[in-house]
């Protein structure tokens, strides 16, 4: 299986989260980025559309 690419993407995302925990000040965590997106109407719209698509893709298809 061509799983190495997925591992690289997972490591990149994981390293970003680790950096945010280690550096503390400045570097945003994933939760802070999501919180920032939820603060705007357009951000909430994108999140809701993505959430509905995810549910349909996983549970209805």
């Amino acid at each position: 299986m061509n799983i190495a690419l997925w591992l690289a993407a997972a490591v990149a995302l994981g390293m970003c989260e680790v950096a945010s925990r280690k550096l503390r000040r400045g570097w945003p965590t994933a939760a802070q980025i999501l919180r920032g997106a939820r603060g705007h109407r357009a951000g909430r719209l994108v999140l809701v559309v993505g959430w509905v698509w995810l549910g349909w893709h996983v549970f209805a298809r």
């Binding site: 299986m1 061509n2 799983i3 690419l5 997925w6 690289a8 993407a9 997972a10 990149a12 995302l13 390293m15 970003c16 950096a19 945010s20 550096l23 000040r25 400045g26 570097w27 945003p28 994933a30 980025i33 919180r35 939820r38 603060g39 909430r44 999140l47 809701v48 959430w51 509905v52 995810l54 549910g55 349909w56 893709h57 996983v58 549970f59 209805a60 298809r61």
Partner: protein
């Protein structure tokens, strides 16, 4: 209390929804119905927690207008986090860009795998998830459905004011 009841209702719904055959009208209708119910519940919960809905009397109203004064200048959020230095702001910008690049990398991998075959050699995220959330794994699928529905309560609501 209300949120807990909603999560329990989601678990019950999920148990039956995930047993429906995929690629069917029933499963699509059930999923979209639950999504609509969660969005409505999120709107109601947000409205209930807003200050305008707070009916408790905190102090006697002695001649003060019931509607907040509109002539006051609206309070604006500070341009930066209090106590943040230029170095912190630069690090925040670099961190946000790095997050964006990491997400774009995951998206590129998904598209690369999607347009290559066979699927066993080029798995997409959904084909990987199918190993644990496929139709044969009812308990895991119902738990995932419950988590997905609970996320709907969060993503549709405006974040609360917190320091």
């Amino acid at each position: 209390m209300v949120t807990s009841a909603l999560v329990v209702a989601l678990a019950v719904c999920g148990w039956f929804v995930v047993a429906m055959p995929p690629f069917g009208v029933e499963s699509s209708a059930a999923t979209f119905s639950v999504a609509a119910a969660m969005l409505a519940a999120s709107a109601v919960l947000t409205h209930r927690s807003s200050p305008a809905f707070d009916l408790r009397v905190r102090e006697p109203n002695l001649g003060q207008p019931l509607v907040p004064a509109l002539d006051r200048a609206p309070t604006r959020a500070p341009a930066c986090v209090p106590g943040e230095t230029i170095g912190d702001t630069s690090l925040r910008l670099r961190g946000t860009i790095t997050w964006l690049l990491a997400v774009l990398l995951a998206l590129a991998v998904e598209l690369w795998e999607l347009f290559h075959a066979p699927r066993s050699s080029y798995p997409t995220l959904s084909s990987l998830a199918n190993e644990v959330l496929g139709p044969g794994h009812r308990i895991a699928r119902a738990a995932a459905f419950m988590c997905w529905g609970a996320c709907g309560l969060i993503v549709a609501s405006r974040p609360g004011r917190r320091s």
